[in-house]
Assembly symmetry: C2
Homo-oligomer: 433 residues x 2
Amino acid sequence: MNAVNIGLLGLGTVGKGTATILERNAAEILRRAGVPVRVAGAVVRDVAAAQAWQADAGLSFPITSDGDALVADPDIDIICELVGGEEPALRWTQAALDAGKHVVTANKALIATHGDALFAKARSKGVGLRFEAGVAGGIPVIKALREGLSANRINWLAGIINGTGNFILSEMASHGREFADVLAEAQALGYAEADPTFDVEGIDAAHKLAILASIAFDTTVDFDALHIEGISSIQPEDVAYAAELGYRIKHLGVARRRDAGLELRVHPALIPEKRLLANVDGVMNAVVIHGDAVGPTLHYGPGAGAEPTGSAVVADIIDLVRGGAHPAGAGIDEPKALPVLTSAEFRCPFYLRLEASDRPGVMASVAGIFGDLEISLEAILQKEPSALDESSVPIILLTRDVDEACMRQATTRLEALDDVLSPVVTLRVETLD
Amino acid sequence: MNAVNIGLLGLGTVGKGTATILERNAAEILRRAGVPVRVAGAVVRDVAAAQAWQADAGLSFPITSDGDALVADPDIDIICELVGGEEPALRWTQAALDAGKHVVTANKALIATHGDALFAKARSKGVGLRFEAGVAGGIPVIKALREGLSANRINWLAGIINGTGNFILSEMASHGREFADVLAEAQALGYAEADPTFDVEGIDAAHKLAILASIAFDTTVDFDALHIEGISSIQPEDVAYAAELGYRIKHLGVARRRDAGLELRVHPALIPEKRLLANVDGVMNAVVIHGDAVGPTLHYGPGAGAEPTGSAVVADIIDLVRGGAHPAGAGIDEPKALPVLTSAEFRCPFYLRLEASDRPGVMASVAGIFGDLEISLEAILQKEPSALDESSVPIILLTRDVDEACMRQATTRLEALDDVLSPVVTLRVETLD
């Protein structure tokens, strides 16, 4: 029984987690894979530092700084690309596939932006390219979508797929705090990067959504076609008003099939508090997938971290060792491009907040605009004047389903009213129906 | 490209769902399986009734009452055993495996009680025996456990795996209703059988738990070793007191690895209301799986119904068509028996309720027993005397982790107190830590 030799590109958080699991759970992995699986080499920039970690961890495998050599090594069967970023990750992945090796990657950006070419190469070489670790960390959601729910036509999916953003929104909701304040704490705790743009502006979530959507709808996804909004402009009062209406604000990635095309959007959204997804707090991730046969399913777990992500990497390795029959998996093999809708073509309920003069007739003017545009209202809250400015009152509105183009007409007309004193804050509502 | 021919044993709820999905989603299934998948024959007791349904549904495939012939038919590639029960399901399954056909089954009782022999036969014939539909309906939880989390040593799992019981408990909690009253409604709605024993006494959940545990721990499970308690004795006041303490009562299947062996138990339990699992309501199912690398994951969805269950059957079919490499799957291939603990060896926190005389010193006597036995208390509630009997008061206690044998000593001593006027109600608490 020959061992399967793993080459790790990178020994950062995920690489260490992967190496640790392969060692600690070697007996379980042998039983499940059918053959021993071992790390045969790792590539790092700082060999001495990695060897020091390795000694502490009680592990022993060769460590080098020469990634090209490891990728070319004929003794290596499976390459795990865990360095992240564009280069050298892309070059090494291409070289490994060209050399006829399976590749497991945690690099969502690479798959989201170069996936089509890489999968084509994997197919032509008859090897596997797996990326469970790239989306929602330890949650086996790629496998659920591609295999567990393979009987279904997927109608939509919606996920909390960035732990940093969810930690910030959870803290804002439970303690009434400001975005900037929580972000600073998250950075101190190591949950957020020094430059948090990737997380809080939705780029990371969009990479993951692009991957999920491509599998869900058997389509290629042009990353630039995604509509992306971050959470940095979320105000504590909107979190509080949402709660008063029975909703929680979460940063969602949503992919929904419409007759005219796909909605692919990352943005903060109000979710009814009775939904499980509204109760996913802290750094945890969760994805709801709605299939035509199964209905709604939810997949929850840690979206990041050394061993949760390593769990996904090792599961992909075991799958590759066990089943060479469908290396690239279904849903990616013959992708066809589906039309992607622009944001003006989206349709959902909306939450709106505006400051208005505290005068008779204001509410009639506001409500009149919605009546004219035939937008049904689900709820209206007129609050007390604020202590700071007693001449104005906040008005909060919740609409039923409306075309976004129509919603924009409403906000333009609202902002043109003399009695509306501020820009209109709008947030989408995702009822998960 | 040859079509794969499916033989359906049974055209009840699940059989109809399976046939409907295979027809409606034929294009998706072809893309994912790589070849066309079609129903080539179905076996029913009442051929005329099935043909009438088939005509209404716009389907056309041969329908017969001769199961033995269908199983022996060399044109059939995969048999779906969807008749349930012991016989003829067992005989047909054995015959199909003997004939070298893959089998997909939704029959949890068959797998829980005859699985070891059937898997051995499948292995010896080099064919697959799949049963995703047998546990938690449309949720791909068998796949998650066996493949998605294959890198992990599973520490424990806990699930709401009987929709009927969860519907009853959800209604009791949200409306303060009596068990018998909700059961009668569930029977009228078709959620509960005329004889509800299988569901409400935990037999159905135990079958599913036995299957989950056998995979999670790579072990054979003797069904008779499971500890099983139903929900028919749950009182509305316990639901209400649990809520006051911040808990919900759910009917759980729990499998937990301890140093001395496995806890395998089905019983009602208090769950902290902040846990997602505590918020799984109605007929929905959910399973939390805790792996050493990934931590906690939750898998949620419809646990029953024609198309949700059919979704799982068809996913198994697609897996078998795509990957013949590991037909019986890991975790079942070389099972070894692990010791199973008796209920006296379980360990968890407990909820207790008793009626005591409304006299000074009673609480001291009660608390003294817990002190003597070194059982830590998390909370104590002494309620107002009831309107019916002003001489007695309900006392509710919540313990920290305690050995169940020790807990029994406590209840024996409590019930021996002159001032304790009723048997002590005890319910386990599952914190999901």
